[in-house]
């Protein structure tokens, strides 16, 4: 079985702070990590590799430093790593990203499963997985909490807001995995050393995947982010001093003044 797992490198949002003046993210000095739910997707692939054998390819699109996320995936147990990195891919929205990944998955070929995390913590769109399935014309199962593969079929349990849904689909299929599915393993110390000293990350450019230049990067993106901002901080409250009866009186006066009572 061949499994392709999508990996995105994201800033560790637990360590991201906002610049109080500009309201934008301070990304400087923030460590980059594998998007958490992508690790859950990889863990599902690793479990399948252990139980029935599989060749796992991890695939990412990003700047050259995204290589570190792929090395970590190799340390966790992936067999092969491919990084899509080219200026032509820059500025992509979710649609163009899915197209780029799609060209690469086609080139990898001969796959039985494509796994992705439900969504990335830096964008929270949950769009790339489903769009990739559309691009590849694959059956898709989203929000997967449990999955098994047997007899050329995948059975998956989707976690919905009000219950579960069990879905069966023929392979090849694309599944997006949620964090409740598993606890991703720690990489072995020796595997970390080998991921950097022994293993390689293959870099693919636009020509390598024979992508249509009009469908990737900024050109292939039907949407564009015009502006990012944080909602203005709440104004500080007012503390009414004095004894409880006095404070209550003051409160009523203020509420009257604001026409609330």
């Amino acid at each position: 079985m061949k499994i392709v797992v999508m990996i995105k490198q994201v800033p560790d949002t637990t360590e991201v702070r906002l610049d109080p003046k500009t309201g934008t993210l301070i990304r400087e000095g923030v460590p980059s990590i594998i998007n958490p739910e992508d690790k859950n997707a990889l863990e599902e692939a690793l479990k399948l590799k252990e139980s029935q054998g599989a060749h796992i390819v991890v695939l990412s699109m990003g700047p050259p430093q995204a290589e570190d996320a792929l090395r970590e995936a190799l340390a966790m147990g992936a067999d092969e790593a491919i990084l899509l990195t080219d200026r032509a891919f820059a500025g992509a929205d979710t649609w163009a990203t899915a197209a780029t990944l799609g060209y690469a998955v086609k080139k990898i070929g001969d796959y039985d499963l494509v796994l992705a995390g439900r969504q990335a913590i830096d964008g929270d769109t949950a769009q790339v997985g489903p769009q990739l399935a559309e691009f590849l014309k694959l059956p898709q199962v989203t929000y997967v909490r449990e999955m098994t593969v047997a007899d050329g079929k995948v059975r998956a349990r989707r976690a919905l807001e009000d219950g579960y849904e069990d879905i069966e689909a023929p392979l090849p299929a694309l599944l997006t995995i949620i964090k409740e599915a598993n606890t991703p393993r720690y990489p072995h110390a020796g595997a970390i050393i080998n991921a950097y000293r022994e293993q390689k990350v293959t870099q693919w450019k636009i020509a390598d995947v024979e992508a249509n230049p009009e469908s990737v990067g900024l050109k292939g993106s039907p949407t564009q982010v015009k502006r990012s901002f944080s909602p203005p901080p709440k104004e500080p409250g007012q503390i009414l001093k004095g004894s409880p009866p006095e404070a209550a009186k003051d409160l009523v006066a203020i509420l009257r003044q604001k026409n609330i009572v």
């Binding site: 460590p31 570190d68 090395r71 970590e72 340390a75 720690y186 990489p187 072995h188 110390a189 020796g190 595997a191 970390i192 050393i193 080998n194 991921a195 950097y196 000293r197």
Partner: protein, 390 residues
């Protein structure tokens, strides 16, 4: 010159930190209180290659070198001195002696399962009358056919009661003394005549065990002589040299944690209408801790780099002794300052500072007291100007 860590070490540190915070920190208080060696943690650590960090992969290790091992000791000591001590006695001295001086057959038989954490190691040199004067050991080993018969006892052996394999030092020729008359042996816990005695109750590192060992006509196969027969004292000293770097790394972790917690406390503790961080008295303590920590970090990782690049002459030995002294003393001073900054809170058992203070104190004593280290450093220095002191 490049002082940045290669990326594999950054990822290694991140993995170890996550493991330490999720698996080790939550039980640190409990294992200290109950004087319990956390075997469940050791099993989990073994699965991740953390019990054989410095050893080559062909011997079952992680192949992360001394640098990787120091990162492990640094991160582990941030959260639990006891767990770090169990791993340190196992890897840094017990198994290290076999790695440094064992034959290939001995490494295959013992080092491989030790590095994988399937077996636990200990290092047994200290005796009732031989502490800093390690050459004064009295445990005897006498040859009998294809075996050696060991008689005597060892005290204060970390992991003594949980170890499967122990590197033991015994006198093989009393006339020759330390130079030629001491040999090292690999002893399995199942060898006839080996017994574990009393388990000590300690001030700190209480989640690690410290035991007495007895050898009563303990029969050890001649194949288990470790290193050159008669050169056991050299094996012991070489092993302890290497162990000292990681003790420095341990001190680095412990003192960084003391600094971090002290800063958080000084920021949130208000007195006289302002955080106590605004007081110069607190600021100076914080600054002094940070200065010493940065000096220690440079010393430790430079010495680890010397070892990893095969630069292990007399200078290395001097540097390793410096790591041990500075690491332990910075850790003790940082723990003391942390108690002072935390005030009453720092003295209470409900807060980890109290445990960190107790755990730090042993580091100035074990694996060669700081007084002996200073003697080593001075003697090595005088040698460079032509004065050979005994």
């Amino acid at each position: 010159m490049d002082f940045t860590f290669p990326k594999e070490y950054e990822l290694l540190r991140r993995m170890i930190r996550e493991f330490a915070e999720k698996e080790v920190a939550p039980i640190a208080e409990e294992i200290d209180r109950n004087e319990r060696v956390p075997m469940e943690t050791i099993k989990k650590a073994a699965k991740l290659g953390l019990m054989g960090m410095p050893f080559p992969q062909k011997y079952g290790g992680a192949g992360a070198g001394e640098t990787g091992y120091c990162i492990l000791m640094e991160e582990m000591n941030k959260v639990c001195g006891s767990t770090a001590t169990v791993i340190g006695a196992h890897t840094g001295i017990g198994a290290m002696a076999i790695y440094l001086d064992g034959t290939d057959a001995q490494k295959q038989k013992y080092l491989v399962p030790l590095a994988k954490g399937e077996l636990i190691a200990a290092f047994a040199l200290t005796e009732a009358n031989a502490g800093s004067d390690a050459a004064a050991i009295q445990t005897r080993a006498v040859r009998d056919g294809n075996e050696f018969v060991l008689n005597g006892s060892k005290i204060w052996i970390t992991n003594g009661d949980i170890a499967d394999v122990i590197s033991v030092f015994a006198v093989t020729d009393p006339a020759l003394g330390a130079r030629g008359g001491v040999s090292a042996f690999i002893v399995e816990k199942g060898f006839p005549g080996f017994k574990v005695g009393h388990k000590e109750e300690k001030m700190g590192i209480r989640g690690s065990s410290t035991a007495e060992l007895f050898f009563e006509d303990c029969r050890v196969p001649a194949d288990n002589v470790l290193g050159i027969f008669g050169a056991g004292f050299l094996t012991a000293m070489k092993t302890l040299d290497v162990g000292r770097i990681s003790l420095g790394a341990g001190g680095l972790g412990a003192s960084q944690q003391a600094l971090k917690m002290s800063m958080e406390f000084a920021k949130s503790r208000y007195q006289f209408g302002a955080p106590i961080a605004a007081k110069q008295a607190i600021q100076w303590m914080i600054a002094d801790m940070a200065i010493e920590i940065e000096a220690l970090r440079s010393l430790v990782y430079r010495t680890a780099w010397m070892m990893d690049s095969g630069n292990t002459g007399r200078d290395f030995s001097t540097m390793a002794a410096m790591c041990k002294v500075l690491g332990s003393e910075v850790a003790c001073r940082a723990a003391d300052a942390a108690v002072q900054i935390h005030g009453g809170m720092g003295y209470m058992k409900s807060y980890p500072i109290e445990r960190m203070y107790r755990d730090a104190r042993i580091t100035r004593i074990f694996e060669g007291t700081n007084e002996i280290q200073r003697e080593v450093i001075a003697k090595n220095l005088f040698r460079t100007v032509g004065l050979k002191l005994r």
